[in-house]
């Protein structure tokens, strides 16, 4: 397993390199530049700006310069937030996004798995329908509707929770719930589906025939096997939380890095976008590795070779 992990990490390097290269050129091909504004600057000023940020060099040279810089840990200054370095913005914003995302993920996995298992065990009873119906609202109602609705009812009308900002437990409640809802629904559905299959499976019948109690059988065998699709889903779930955080962070005014995805692109903030892309690429690759390493724990027949 250790060898597998090392090999995967080594394989991550060319992957990130490919991501960096494609992204670098993709970003610069888009129309418009970071300093384009409605009020045009005199051509001499424009030339000076371009020179200061090396935008007047051939793309290949800019690329080489960028690679050399990031190898030394210098992600460059943000083109849009000119008083800050990209590494500062990431360093300040990432812990916030991570707290938000992690909390949402834990909530989603816990509640989703519980709901799905419960619904599967009580299949086709009103309980099943009720639980799944509730879970489904997470998918059926988009987060840019749920979040303002929650802030309207709980924040404005009832004044129970703050509407915006970040910096205390009560600021985290609404955004975490809003972020987790779609994933709760997805995980609940996946769990229910796979739980149903597992409960019908041969080895469960064997366990039942052997006289094992329902409870022991469920916890011992069913949960582990049913968890496998959920495990595969953790990758997409993380991606879903990352993209969801773009909207949630904007709605709740949370200073994370989610918004840099969209804002960075809209502002043509080349360095910030590259910084965020590299960051998230690393995150996704690490997460996939962890998920792949966990597979054998849930299904002993799966070997990582």
């Amino acid at each position: 397993m250790f060898g597998y992990a090392v090999r995967r990490l080594a394989g991550a390097v060319p992957t990130i390199f490919v991501v960096i290269t494609i992204s670098f050129f993709m970003i610069r091909l888009a129309p418009g530049g970071p300093f384009d504004q409605e009020r045009k600057v005199p051509p001499e000023v424009e030339a000076n700006l371009a020179a200061a940020y090396h935008l007047d060099e051939p793309l290949i040279e800019q690329y080489g310069r960028y690679l050399a810089n990031i190898l030394q840990g210098d992600f460059g200054p943000s083109f849009r937030y000119r008083d800050f370095q990209v590494s500062e913005l990431l360093r300040d914003g990432f812990p916030v996004s991570m707290q938000l995302g992690l909390a949402a993920m834990i909530l989603a996995v816990t509640l989703g798995f519980l709901a799905g298992s419960l619904a599967a065990l009580k299949r086709n009873t009103p309980g099943d329908v009720a639980v799944m119906g509730l879970a489904m609202t997470g998918i059926a109602v988009p987060n840019f509707v749920v979040a303002p609705l929650m802030t309207l009812i709980l924040g404005v009308w009832l004044s129970l929770l703050p509407v915006g900002g970040w910096g205390g437990l009560n600021h985290a409640v609404l955004p975490v719930i809003a972020l987790a809802l779609p994933q709760i629904a997805a995980i609940a559905r996946l769990t229910r589906g796979s739980m149903l299959e597992v409960l019908r499976a041969d080895f469960i019948r064997t366990a039942r025939a052997k006289g094992l109690s329902e409870g022991a059988m469920v916890t011992g065998h069913a949960l582990k096997a049913a968890a496998l699709p959920v495990l595969s889903y953790l990758g997409p779930a993380t991606a879903g939380i990352i993209t969801g955080s773009v909207v949630i962070e904007q709605i709740f005014g949370i200073p994370g890095i989610g918004r840099y995805f969209v804002q960075g692109a809209l502002n043509r903030d080349y360095t910030l976008v590259m910084g965020v892309v590299i960051f998230y690429a690393g995150l996704i690759i690490t997460l996939n590795l962890i998920v792949d390493l966990l597979y054998p724990l849930f299904d002993p027949r799966v070997r990582n070779d």
């Binding site: 629904a185 559905r189 299959e197 496998l228 990758g235 892309v277």
Partner: protein
């Protein structure tokens, strides 16, 4: 002996598809949902001709007014009848949602199943491709699509499809990894069946469970993602609309004009619930181990 072979010994063999259909028809939730879905689709296709309003006709005296006799769903911020817009928007959302999801299912299942089954270096490579595509900044991809190909509606499909198959591939690969060690797959391999045959006949049918569930999760993603594309200028262009766009517009004024949000959101939610029940029904009907 399995139950199926016992059954076969007693009565003449029936086509597995007919079996599946019978099972499906016995699932009340699935049948009910199908009927509702067909009704919604019919309403979207035929309804606007009965309405008397055009999708872009402005009622200057009734701008952003609540539902009444003239406008059953009220009007939007430009004074256009909301009922007509919800129905016509439904055409786009339903078509897009189902078509794009189908595309992503096909690509994702093939990619993920092959990667998971073949394993080794090929699996590594295929999943690395998925990782790379995942990590690329999607917005720039869309912007470049517009730059190089203009505002083609086909591009909307390309953009939507390009994103949604990645998740499916990952899920399918995960499932395949555990499936390929199952007895019946091992048996088929031992009998010398070619890879394509094993994947097609044994692996893929057993993937149906999570695939169907995930497909029903993909549909709403696709529908809402289209409204994000409109923001960049690629989605449906005015006066054409879609449920995603109507819901975003409605969300802005949910307190002052709730009808602008409630009606399109209700249509979307109902459609999604129906799709879920149908999906569950399909999966139960097609599940080979249920026989």
């Amino acid at each position: 002996m399995t139950e199926l072979s016992l059954h076969e010994a007693v009565s003449p063999p029936r086509s597995p598809w007919r079996d599946a259909l019978t099972r499906l028809l016995r699932n009340h939730a699935a049948v009910g949902s199908s009927i509702i879905l067909v009704l919604i689709a019919l309403a979207c296709v035929l309804g606007p001709s009965f309405s008397g309003y055009e999708i872009d006709a402005i009622d200057w005296d009734n701008i952003q007014t609540s539902p009444d006799n003239r406008h059953l769903f009220g009007t939007d911020g430009n004074g256009r009848d909301l009922l007509v817009r919800v129905l016509i928007g439904g055409r786009i959302s339903l078509a897009l949602g189902i078509a794009a999801t189908l595309v992503s299912v096909i690509i994702g299942v093939i990619w993920g199943a092959l990667a998971g089954y073949l394993g080794g270096a090929l699996d590594s490579l295929m999943m690395r491709v998925v990782d790379v595509l995942y990590a690329l900044p999607f917005m720039f991809f869309v912007i470049l699509l517009i730059v190089f190909f203009g505002r083609n509606p086909i591009l909307m499909f390309v953009a939507l499809g390009a994103v949604s198959w990645l998740d499916m591939a990952r899920i399918v690969r995960g499932q395949t990894l555990s499936l390929k060690h199952r007895d019946f797959v091992r048996a088929a391999q031992a009998m010398g069946a070619p890879t394509g045959h094993v994947v097609r006949r044994h692996v893929i049918p057993n993937l149906l469970g999570p695939v169907v569930v995930f497909a029903t999760l993909t549909v709403p993603q696709v529908i809402l993602f289209e409204s994000f594309l409109s923001f960049l200028g690629l989605g449906v262009q005015e006066p054409m609309t879609s449920w995603g766009v109507l819901i975003s517009e409605g969300a802005e004024s949910m307190e002052s004009s709730p009808w602008m949000l409630v009606f399109p959101a209700a249509f979307l939610a109902t459609t999604l619930f129906c799709l879920n029940f149908i999906g569950d029904g399909l999966r139960d009907a097609l599940d080979p181990r249920d026989h």
